[in-house]
């Protein structure tokens, strides 16, 4: 069955530091991968997505992610974190053949210290 694992429940970084959020997936074929961000009181906003092609994808707000098939990973990175990046980050996989649903990981809560 398809699944997504985000090993880090909570990460704390200092403003200006680099960031990497981990995501591992289990999928039966070439996955379609997404990173969403949820700020307090807000909905889920798409940061970036990977469907095919270049394995390094650029997203909004200075984020990027790299698809590594050999490691079944799609880690999210940002070279310099801003205080406004504090939020919950969700990795998701899907849709797949005859299903449109997204399968989400449990999320990683990012806290940024000044």
């Amino acid at each position: 069955a398809q699944s997504v694992t985000q090993p880090d429940i909570h990460i704390t970084v200092s403003e200006g530091a680099s960031l990497e959020l981990r995501c591992n997936y289990s999928y039966g074929a070439t996955p379609y991968l997404f990173w969403y961000v949820q700020s307090p009181g807000q909905g889920l906003q798409l940061l970036l997505k990977y469907f095919s092609g270049d394995t390094l994808v650029q997203g909004i707000k200075g984020f990027e992610a790299e698809f590594k098939r050999s490691q079944s990973s799609f880690n999210l990175r940002k070279p310099s974190v801003h205080w406004s990046d504090a939020a919950e980050y969700f990795c998701a996989v899907g849709p797949y053949y005859n299903t449109d649903k997204l399968i989400f990981g449990t999320g990683t809560r990012l806290q940024v210290f000044p």
């Binding site: 009181g41 969700f90 997204l102």
Partner: protein, 114 residues
Amino acid sequence: EPEVTQTPSHQVTQMGQEVILRCVPISNHLYFYWYRQILGQKVEFLVSFYNNEISEKSEIFDDQFSVERPDGSNFTLKIRSTKLEDSAMYFCASSPDRGLSEQFFGPGTRLTVL
């Protein structure tokens, strides 16, 4: 920029009562979804809807749940007889197409069942 809206933002109800959660998808979108997130858990797919019928539903979406597009703009989720375990954040999403199209999420309705 067009966005998905949801009302109310917070709904408190007594166990056994019926609730209707409302969503206004983006106007030219054709596919509609409901997801939920129980506090501290992952976002879970409930149901997808296209052309005035359910296209897919999860095992969570039992006979107590129903969805409807009563007019050209609203998309509703009804829970007939709420249970304590229905307490969660409910997200509506829409997409212009199925498959690889991005799903745009609303801000969510927090349902509290007492």
